[in-house]
């Protein structure tokens, strides 16, 4: 299973030397031979850096990616998930697919992951709090899975739900958010080639604090849209309620596209601090993925649909 389909989408442009060197470890670790093949074919692809590329996008160190997390199910401090998610059980795991689909079922994780080839995607992640990272994910296109379950013609949205297990998730014992955590995408957003379900990062299995065993990654939206620990996907014709929107409707909208021109009511979104850097940098519209995604929002007032 060779994966040469290096997306025409700009992952995050430059592959850091470390990941390049790392690819062997990643080979042995996950036996994802295809990824190595793709990596080998990489330099050519990267030479043609797309318009929104930022030459200075370096990978955020593994240690930072895995110790500075927002995953309130395991506590609200950034270091809490790394501390509290260690013994979280990610096997057996299943995802219930419900609603307007032709093949509703409870899918075992293996059934979801095995038929598709895992590929590496280097994406910028911009948190609504004003910090960002560059993360080499392993995963596969969400569209591939959606096509398998065959949404019916009425389906217009997908609602995602995170596990809510008080015995394993100390954070859900306090009503910080309306548990379980839910998120949602418009079907076209869910089907977009940039949208992935991630199963790993840095060439290894996804650490629990990063949303194992299965999480969403939508790189042009604020980080909280990229829901972790997914146990349910429901296809619907109505815009689903989302956890942060319910918690503070004036602060977090359904779309939550990265937008430097629309501030959070309490703080500016014009700049961000890239983890590991000292000076703040300008935030890019759609987190720099405008060329690929802007057309989905043509004609929409992004100030109202924040």
């Amino acid at each position: 299973m060779l994966i040469r389909r290096r997306p025409e989408l700009p992952s995050s442009e430059i592959t850091d030397e470390r990941i390049y060197v790392d690819r062997r470890k990643f080979l042995t670790a996950s036996s994802l031979f295809g990824v190595a093949a793709a990596t080998g074919a990489l330099p050519g692809c990267l030479g043609a850096s797309p318009s929104d590329a930022q030459a200075d996008d370096k990978l955020t160190p593994f240690n930072d990616v895995t110790t500075y997390n927002n995953y309130y199910e395991f506590g609200t401090a950034k270091e809490d998930p790394a501390k509290n998610a260690g013994s979280f059980r990610t096997r057996p795991w299943s995802v219930a697919v419900e609603g307007m689909v032709k093949k509703p079922a409870v899918y075992n994780l293996e059934d979801i992951v095995r038929p598709v080839s895992q590929e590496e995607r280097i994406y910028r992640l911009r948190c609504v709090e004003g910090w960002s990272m560059v993360i080499p994910w392993l995963g596969f296109s969400l569209a591939a899975f959606i096509n398998r379950v065959e949404p019916s013609s009425q389906a217009r949205f997908v609602e995602f739900t995170t596990l809510r297990d008080p015995s394993q998730m100390p954070g859900v014992r306090r009503p910080v958010l309306d548990w379980p955590y839910t998120e949602g995408l418009r079907l076209d957003e869910a089907m977009h080639p940039l949208t992935i379900l991630a199963t790993g990062l840095y060439g290894r299995a996804l650490p629990n604090q990063n949303g194992a065993p299965l999480r969403l990654v939508v790189p042009w939206k604020y980080g909280f849209k990229s829901i972790k620990g997914i146990v349910k996907m429901r296809f619907t014709d109505r815009q689903p309620a989302t956890a942060w929107n319910k918690a503070a409707p004036s602060e977090y909208g359904f779309y939550s596209n990265v937008n430097p021109e629309v501030d959070h009511p309490r703080w500016s979104q014009a700049k961000e601090r890239r983890i590991g850097e000292f000076l703040r940098r300008r935030t890019l519209m759609f987190n720099g993925y405008g060329d690929q995604v802007a057309r989905m929002y043509a004609g929409m007032d992004l100030r109202r649909n924040y």
Binding site: N63, D64, T67, Y68, Y72, T76, K78, E79, E129, W131, R174, V176, L177, A247, A248, D263, R266, W267, S268, K271, R273, I275, G276, F278, L279, R280
Partner: protein, 206 residues
């Protein structure tokens, strides 16, 4: 007298400990992935803690009768100002890197920054007039009046914390609860005193 002179340097050193730990962590990668945010969080929390400790001096003295504790009040109050100033410097110098435009915009546009800035500006005259010379110059009564500003600063400082937090307001409310109890104790004492005076002044009907 001798005992207090021995304790003072100990209190002073203890009050510097949070800074020492911060510096140590800074040099030993102990501030996590976002060290600037961590510096802001820690200095801000210590400023609030020292405000609370300073406000606890008088109740402690009245309730326990341990009068000597008053001797540390000025120092503790100055440490509140010290950590508040470090907090402000971290914001201006590290977080915003002296970007005047962004700093001004933040202060004007974002209420939690506005109220934080206002809190520091309230602490400033208290720090300046904390010397014996200023007590003399202002006179005890006026000095006391001025220094009641710490009651306001304690509340606005905690609101600053509350508004800065994204969602989990548990800790800010703990701080607010502690500050509110310390102020409520004063209100209660003041009301009791007034009632007593009123009672004494009731004309006796003969």
């Amino acid at each position: 007298m001798r005992r207090s002179s021995a304790i003072k340097p100990v209190v002073f050193a203890a009050a510097l400990l949070p800074l020492a730990i911060l510096v140590y962590d800074g040099f030993n990668a102990g501030l996590g992935a976002n060290p600037i945010e961590e510096v802001e969080l820690r200095t801000g929390r210590w400023a609030l803690r020292f405000i609370a400790i300073t406000l606890a001096v008088t109740p402690l003295r009245r309730i326990t009768g341990w009068n000597e504790v008053i001797k540390y009040r000025r120092m503790l109050g100055l440490f509140a100002f010290f950590y508040a100033t470090l907090h402000l410097l971290a914001f201006v110098g590290l977080d915003m890197f002296f970007d005047v435009g962004d700093i001004v915009e933040d202060i004007v546009k974002h209420p939690y920054i506005t109220i934080g800035m206002a809190t520091w500006l309230m602490l400033l005259p208290l720090a300046i007039t904390s010397t014996k010379g200023w007590v003399r110059r202002l006179g005890g009564k006026r000095w006391n009046m001025l220094h009641r500003l710490i009651y306001v600063a304690a509340i606005t400082g905690t609101i600053h914390y509350l508004w800065a937090v994204k969602k989990d307001t548990f800790l800010p409310f703990v701080y607010l609860g502690i500050i509110a109890s310390l102020l409520a104790w004063r209100l209660w004492v003041w009301l009791a005193k007034r009632r007593e005076r009123a009672w004494r002044e009731v004309p006796t009907i003969s």
